[in-house]
Amino acid sequence: MRKEVPLIVTFIAGAGIMAGFFLQAPLVKVSLSANLLNWAVIISAFALALGAGNLTRLHGLNLSRRGKNWALSGLLLLGLWGFFLLGLVKGPTYSSYTYIFNAVLVPGSATVMALNGFYIISACYRTFRMRSWQATLMVLTAVVVALGRVGIGQAMWPALGPISDWINRYPNASAMRGIVIGAALGTVSLGIRVILGIERGHLGAEGG
């Protein structure tokens, strides 16, 4: 039973949505699939706390054992539960809540991304070599598009803008289209496997 119940639930949920997609019967199309979707949204909201639980266990253990960098673990837990309680009690529109959000999360996340700005330019220098015809093609396209999408390239050669737009609209789109179609076929394969219970990786490391 332990193994079967989750698989049956998966099948019913998946098949219900698929039936709502193909069949016109209003009962299936509206009531069943709308309820399934709404329930999934609710459960997904519960799932948001899963990461928090794991982190709490990991860092709580580190804190209580005074392991390596235990103070940092404490800081993480303080940020996590302190901020959560603040949002829970006072609501996310409370001024201190948005203050902390704007003072820590916004600059922090943006700066982590911004670090990549430095790395990507040095990557241009250290790794962008024309080692083969394929790499050459990639490097040349990158150069044309990088210049063509900004003012300086367009000022140097006005045709660069339209050329880079064309590259994006046709050769790039054609390859991306191939990738989208390939990925869609992959999704169909995976979907069939998950709904029919052949694929069980998500049900845990023990294999379900």
């Binding site: 960098n69 916004v106 670090l115 880079s164 994006n168």
Partner: protein
């Protein structure tokens, strides 16, 4: 230079993370840990509202069956307790079932049929359309693995050889063009975030850039 705490605080956070460029240090790690905590807390606050709005309130107003998703939701947390882990699997299964079916129907309709139909509608009357069609076919052939496989010592049949050639030259070429363009756009994306940070540091914190 600004005198407001609401500018100094983000400035210190920004500098702490930029210090990683020099080398890893304790300030960077501290801010990093704080970020992880606060970011997760925010999504939990937002998720809590979803649960109250969509499940708890309707249940209290008489939709008794909304207890089911609430119970399933709570059962997710049973994976933290040894021996109870398998009870959480039904909820995971439910999420996977709905999630993959939603993705599956979308992939069939929008990605597969939508993209194929719009390509099949293109008349080969100009260069751009020819590039589009040839590029798509080439890319698809690049991802053929069985049709173009060499079986044993026997020479490959001519059709497979042609397909393999198209795939590894036309298809590969188109993919490299696409990746080049993607690289250029990624430069733009990352740099604009960097510009945003530098703008903040030198405009809002140190008044070097005129407002």
């Amino acid at each position: 230079m600004s005198t407001q705490l609401s500018v100094w605080l983000p400035a210190l956070v920004t500098l702490a993370i930029f210090s990683l460029l020099y080398r890893e240090n304790i300030y960077y790690r501290a801010v990093e840990h704080l970020l992880v905590g606060v970011g997760l807390a925010h999504s939990m606050v937002m998720g809590y509202k979803s649960i109250v709005d969509m499940a708890v309130n309707p249940m209290l107003q008489g939709k008794w069956y909304m207890i089911v998703p609430i119970l399933l939701g709570f059962s997710l947390y049973l994976r933290w307790f040894k021996g109870l882990g398998f009870y959480s699997r039904s909820a995971v299964g439910f999420l996977m079932g709905v999630g993959t079916a939603v993705g599956l129907k979308g992939a069939l309709q929008a990605d597969l049929f939508g993209q194929i139909i719009s390509t099949a509608k293109l008349p080969l009357t100009n260069m751009s359309n020819v590039v589009m069609v040839v590029g798509l076919v080439g890319t698809l052939m690049h991802f053929l693995f069985i049709t173009t496989a060499q079986t044993g010592e026997a020479p490959m049949n001519p059709l497979s050889r042609v397909l393999l050639w198209i795939g590894s030259y036309v298809g590969r070429g188109m993919i490299m063009v696409a990746l080049g363009s993607a690289f250029a756009y990624t430069i733009m994306a990352r740099i604009s975030v960097l510009i945003g940070r530098i703008q903040f540091l030198f405009r809002d914190w140190i008044y070097l850039i005129p407002k």
